[in-house]
Symmetry: D3
Subunit: 253 residues, 6 copies
């Protein structure tokens, strides 16, 4: 089975830089897969596409080196299993608030007896090889999002769940949870303090800490603080930022 | 009928800044339509989508102010008429090399007796209003691409064709036609000389000169030289440039 | 943020006439958005399309004045939140039978602390503006369907839930729930009595009463009875009724 | 091979009533195929979809009795042959102006030596049977549109072409060709005179005369005048007419 | 309403041979519907498509004789009801482990009072007729999958649920549940013993026993053992097996 | 730029075994790309899909080793150039009957001055690398189909055109052209004689001879006769053959 490079990077102490796809285009996915990312996430939660488009985007990512990941639309077994069948080499799960929720998430990604995943990796075997079944439980990475008020009370429990590879902070939802406006680059002390607390708990449990980054500069800040899973904004940002800058420059007098 | 803002801008001596869509996504189209462009081009020549996606992209552009345009895949009546039926308020036609070709192009955009367009503006009437038939011939803008060696011998003839609103230089194909490598920002003297010659012939015939721009800075250069139809790169560039810059910044040590 | 015209109409005592989309076509959506409706519902429950098509239909509706709404396929947070992210300015939720279910529905449409909506309004901000987060909780309308036997025992509880703007009777399911055949224009006394009872409870709680209407005549009947949210049949009815009448007329001897 | 009911109806002196599809929906196609039409046309000329959607619409029509037809986007061999491969049981060809054009059209629909059709009826054999090759030339119907000024000078030549089953008048384009506004129900004397002249020439050559009808009443008028191929408006009309009438009725005070 | 041929076959003691669709193609669906199957399953659990594609595949199957079935992605009311609205004449439900789960599944397929299905059979009425509501509860077939360890403890309870027509063993998941590697043709004694036990319990309860078959030979083995619902592999197997054999033969020296 | 393995194989005297795609599925494309083919052809002539699906299929093929090729729908510059922009590494062109037609075909695949290809390889550069422009003319393979009566009179002329890499016999169309029924495995002497004559002319001109093969056995026959470009049937054959065999075996008594 095709190995999961993220595991290697993390084991060696490295950092994973990750592209992010909100838009409904396999061509955009292929463009992003040609950039210098370690992984690319197909986002079913806030992305504007359905499962078929997710499959096509996973195909497009598979033309190049980055590891194909997916964010499930919800912590439910069915969408998680379908994304894995479609060849996602890891799942980002939003809104994990308790240890039980985290365990349910992990179990959806594992064949019995480690979990309840149903067998039918119809595209995953094309991407990964015929020994997929034997190695999937050890290859698929799991990334739980920490972004609710409730999660802050359950950090130890959540991060104790066996099989959890990384946690991933959603700064916008976390900010809202703490009573502030959403921001991909939060500045409020309370938010920053919680982010650091989450990171420390993760590290203490041997879980890789990650956070969504507004841009490259912000990513470097978080990296220097010890975060090692760093998705960068999303294709919609790359696209509108690029267009906005270009037309503003063009219109200058 | 909904007026064509491009005609107004050009009549008042202004410049049209234009977004460009290569990718297959109505969401990308809507993002670009929210930026500060006067028009957005759905590109059927080098774009990676079919007619149905073009229709959806024209719908997405129609949610906002920019004028929806389309580049036909070829100088043939059928794709031109279909794009107009779908609500394009103007057509960019590639590879116009002779006066006859230019006339054929213009006639495909006009109802008789000015041309041979067949009646059935099924989406255009939704976008533009029920009096579409009466005003379409005076509203639709026509933009002929100058980018072949043969065209350079026929500039006067091409630009004399009645109904031609603008010409649009494809710098990459023009560079190749002159024996150089393709570039959206050509530097070779011979190419620059021809670009300026084309512009002058256009102005002499009351035709708006335009050119594809590698970025905003290049656009300003051309504007100061007198070009007034300035498409900026394409969504694929905005996207990859944005991603490339962000991940490079993030990876800096 | 773009205001929600439905709130205005209802505040002023007016009635909302609403188009309805079952079919899988953004072109049909645009046609309906050009008719004289106050709102148009993209129906994920009984409609024959997936999420991507819903997004495209919401784009098509956004080219014109009617307010884009969506019926979620089920009272679950994930599909509700995705439809809101995609730019629905209100949600119709089927099969609300208890106060708890109603509260769960409302909370899925609200950012904390009023609810649990996750932040990522990727298309909603394009349609509505950059201040979307600040105003969304006050702008999005919520419409709970009353159509089960259980709901009839819980009307007061359901309609007491804070944030509920309107209720919407599904006459077919309600008829079945009461032991009768489904009908968009029910005639059975018991059904009519329950419909009136529901309406009265709604009015008593300051909730706008609505009901699905078989046609325009039926809509007027309900309006005169005090209903103020009046979806009219669906695109599949408009289409087949139009075709059926035309071919019958044509075949007459 | 599945027979072509249109041939039978016409041979017996009967009239063909025909549905028409402009929209991009296989569900709409199936709805229309459930109405009382003898045939349904998938319109690639003014319709808002591409070839893949045409295939899906032909599949949807094939669930029921009406004969699946297609209007090619242009009188070119490639789109005609592809529509036949996809299971169209007849082709409507727009803008036939000369006998040569008519012959070119017919030849695109016939295997050698009657024409130049290339062999590969990949869906047609599923719909029609394994003996498709042997019977296709005798089964496929051909319908040439008469709608240009030039065609009026060439009626005898056009209708003399062997293999032409029917002609079909496009009243809007014909009106424009004669210097009048487009109308699906033309009233101008000159237009009416030409329509009758076309019909007479068709009958004289044993070709079935047809005309696009604004509605059922208009269809009856033409039938009584001797027209026997009667497409009725289009799905977009059925849909908007149905919606318009319903909402107008509902809003009445 | 169109009858359900599966009921007839099973009542007469016959066996149902069933095609299976994992791929995202309505053309593949139509090809399979032209083969000698009694039914064809559109698989939403391990298939690589979304709801819209499922609708198109159901349309394609409806052009021919086989009964259209669907496997729901999960035992949840919403996807089950949507597949029925789209014209599935029966539902395969994965991972039924308890009597309660089985009852919940059956109730999602039944209108009240037998269940909680919501009314809106928008395509089902096109496929089946206008009396759909009256006969649906008696026409739709229900097929529960037995494939978990927990189910093995609850066979009697599961198969006692009223309305269950058939059970269907997933040999791969069942093998995993019993601690073995997944196989569509399991050889392990323990697995074979459990398969036979499940079959016997089914027969004792008047429930038709079924099992997924690796190929035709395996199907015959199971048939001779008394299984009467026999899906054969899947389109992805037919396709890759066909290609693999052909290219291997071609390359032989 | 990514090299073209076909050139290497042919230069070394080897034979190219080729998969063929008629169906509209990127998943099928990926399955076929995982089999032991040297190349896979996306067929726009008799295939049941449009340009967008072709792009997705080319992406899917690009996940694995086989060289992505496409058959253009017609010998016209626009579809040929679009397929090359989308990343086809070679073009099969149907119905080449004269040297002029062959030259026109080759020129559509070449940047000036060797041809007239317009610059915009938007996906081709992702697949092949940034030096695409410099190497494309030497990398793209060209394959002309010989299948008409007229071509038989022009073999020398056709095969003398510079830049032609291979010819490809369509046995069905060639059989029809010679007055026989279409067959992928023609037996008629006259047809076999012409096939051998075509092969000899090709070899004499240094052009690789190819022919469409009904199956692997037929492919071996042609290979032993000297053919070195051997497409095998098509996905629709693999699929229906696989299903047909399996269900026949299953039903045996």
């Amino acid at each position: 089975m095709r190995e999961n490079k993220l595991k290697k990077i993390w084991k060696s102490g490295g950092t994973v830089y990750c592209g992010w796809l909100i838009g409904d285009s396999s061509y955009s996915a292929e463009i992003i897969a040609n950039e210098n990312f370690d992984a690319v996430v197909v986002d079913m939660q806030h992305g504007l596409f359905g499962f078929k488009e997710a499959v096509e985007m996973l195909q497009a990512i598979s033309t190049k080196a980055p590891v194909p990941l997916a964010r499930t639309q919800w912590n439910e077994p069915s969408p998680i299993m379908r994304l894995l069948d479609a060849g996602a080499w890891g799942i980002v799960c939003p809104l994990i608030s308790t240890a039980d929720e985290c365990e349910q998430f992990i179990r959806a990604t594992r064949y019995p007896p480690e979990g309840e995943r149903s067998f039918g990796p119809m595209r995953a075997m094309l991407y990964g090889g015929e020994d997929y079944y034997k190695k999937a439980n050890d290859t698929i990475v799991t990334i739980a999002m920490i972004e609710t008020a409730e999660a802050l009370d359950n950090l130890d429990g959540i991060m104790s769940i066996k099989g959890l590879d990384a946690i991933f902070i959603g700064p916008s939802d976390l900010s809202i949870a703490l009573g502030h406006e959403p921001s991909l680059d939060p500045k409020h002390k309370e938010v920053l303090a919680q982010i650091e607390r989450i990171r420390k708990v993760a590290v203490a449990h041997g879980v890789v800490p990650g956070i969504h980054c507004a841009d490259g500069k912000v990513a470097r800040k978080w990296r220097s603080q010890g975060f090692r899973f760093l998705p960068l904004a999303a294709d919609s940002y790359y696209l509108s930022a690029g267009a906005k800058a270009m037309v503003a420059e063009a219109r200058k007098r």
